[in-house]
């Protein structure tokens, strides 16, 4: 936990961590990202919501260049996103990512999943890496499953392991691409609790989600996207109680009343 709380201390000192400037992307004829401008400060928790197909997942995936962009600029910690190659790999190591479908390495145990990046990318000694892995697994509440294979775990447990795997790299920012969308309802909370703890510890987080409760309780800012554009940005209180745009009002009326 020490590293995380230290990260919180430089929040005020160094400002913007992730900056997107007029980013555009097409999938064939579909213009999925249209002139996206977005700045995320160190220590900030930004929740991206919007109807499906609005480009929010794509936006999340452009930040570590799992999706390339057609035009615009993305920089992380003041450095523009490099093209393919070693530079890009180095940058990705600083950006943790959690996927909708967990994507734990199926042929490796939980412990190996969490040590792989530390040993192969961070060049850590295996013993140290395992120690850190066990600490992180305990922290997300799956310490007892360390020697099992991903397929032997429940979805909620797998997703918590995936969070531990990303944290093991000591990332500057964490990207969550619909982390609870593939989970059974009773497992959503155990994952959200881990994320909430992470937010409280001062991690910079970009979270694409449909969990409005999480957005209300953990976010510093809500970004509402529709049709490839950012329609509205506000604090959770403002956004949920008093959305300005018609698209947002329409969206909220569909999800909040049932």
């Amino acid at each position: 936990m020490t590293e995380v709380s230290m990260a919180k201390e430089d929040v005020a000192s160094t400002g913007d961590l992730v900056v997107l400037k007029s980013v555009n992307k097409h999938f064939g004829a579909l213009h999925v990202l249209q002139d996206i401008d977005l700045t995320i400060a160190r220590g900030e928790v930004v929740v991206v919501i919007g109807p499906s197909g609005s480009g929010k997942s794509t936006l999340c995936r452009t930040i570590n260049r799992l999706e390339t962009i057609d035009s615009g600029e993305i920089s992380i910690d003041g450095r523009p996103l490099p093209h393919e190659g070693k530079e890009l790999a180095r940058l990705r190591a600083d950006v943790g990512m959690v996927f909708q479908s967990f994507n734990l390495f199926a042929h490796k145990t939980v412990l190996e999943n969490v040590t792989l990046g530390q040993v192969k990318v961070r060049r850590k000694d295996r013993k140290q890496a395992e120690e850190r892995a066990r600490t992180l697994l305990d922290r997300v509440g799956v310490g007892a499953q360390a020697d099992k294979y991903p397929a032997q775990l429940s979805g909620g447990q797998q997703q918590r392991v995936a969070i531990a795997r990303a944290l093991a790299m000591e990332p500057k920012v964490m990207l969550f691409d619909e982390p609870t969308s593939a989970l059974d309802p009773e497992m959503i909370n155990e994952v959200l609790e881990v994320m909430q703890q992470l937010a409280r510890d001062g991690m910079t987080m970009i979270v694409v989600t449909h969990e409005m409760g999480f957005a209300r309780s953990a976010a510093n800012r809500v970004v509402f996207m529709a049709d490839g554009r950012i329609i509205e940005q506000a604090t959770p209180d403002q956004f949920f109680s008093n959305p300005r745009s018609d698209r947002a009002k329409d969206f909220l009326s569909k999800i909040l009343h049932h």
Partner: protein, 221 residues
């Protein structure tokens, strides 16, 4: 009833077959994996090479490839693979030809295995900051291999039988001995049956054992 076998080194001939098979299998597994790596890689030149290699080599008859190694590389170009002994040279060229040919099939089997690995596995690996080679060797290939034990077994069985083509350049393996026995003894059916049985003894256990291995190592998702 089996007197026609006396005076012939049957086991010695099959031992050469086994050696050809094992060396070619090891070699084509390595070269085939490299080719598969090239074909899925980000470098256009390597992708082009891999694709061209596979499509050319797997469409040429093995006999032509083996004859080319001996007649073309050895006798015309004077390559002798570090030996002066005629038998050793031909053995080595047979292995070289078999590797060149079989690796095209190994490559395609592995590539189909790579396609069974969900794309999210590679994405997660890239997101951790692993390089292309690390993603391939640490995450994708280990899972790909486990899903293609069956197809690779087929390739290995085909390879075992393909070693008989080495007889064309005078390598003294099983089929070479069979040919001379058929010429010398009036026992065509019996001799053929003995050699057919010999090959079944090699390939049947291979299939059974690797079938079991394939089930054992399969990745649970």
């Amino acid at each position: 009833m089996f007197d026609f076998l006396s005076g012939y080194d049957l086991l010695g001939a099959f031992w050469v077959t086994v050696q050809l098979t094992l060396l070619s299998a090891a070699g084509s597994l390595v070269w085939g994996t490299l080719l598969a790596g090239m074909r899925v890689g980000p470098v256009p030149l390597m992708r082009g090479f891999g694709t061209a290699y596979v499509n050319i080599v797997r469409n040429i008859p093995l006999t032509v490839i083996i004859l080319f190694t001996s007649l073309g590389l050895n006798q015309t170009l004077g390559v002798n693979l570090g030996s002066q002994n005629f038998d050793t040279i031909n053995f080595r060229f047979a292995v070289l030809g078999l590797i060149a040919y079989t690796s095209a099939f190994v490559c395609e089997a592995i590539r189909s295995g790579i396609n069974t690995v969900p794309v999210g596995q590679a994405e997660a690996a890239r997101a951790l900051g692993l390089s292309f080679t690390q993603v391939l060797t640490l995450v994708v290939l280990p899972q790909a291999f486990r899903s293609v034990v069956g197809p690779l077994t087929n390739v290995l069985i085909a390879l075992t039988k393909n070693t008989t083509v080495a007889a064309a350049i005078g390598v003294a393996e099983a089929a070479f001995l069979m040919k001379s026995m058929i010429e010398n003894e009036a026992q065509l059916l019996a001799i053929s049956a003995v050699f057919a049985f010999g090959f079944v003894c090699l390939t049947l256990p291979t299939g059974l054992i690797l079938g079991w291995v394939g089930k054992k190592v399969a990745v649970k998702r």
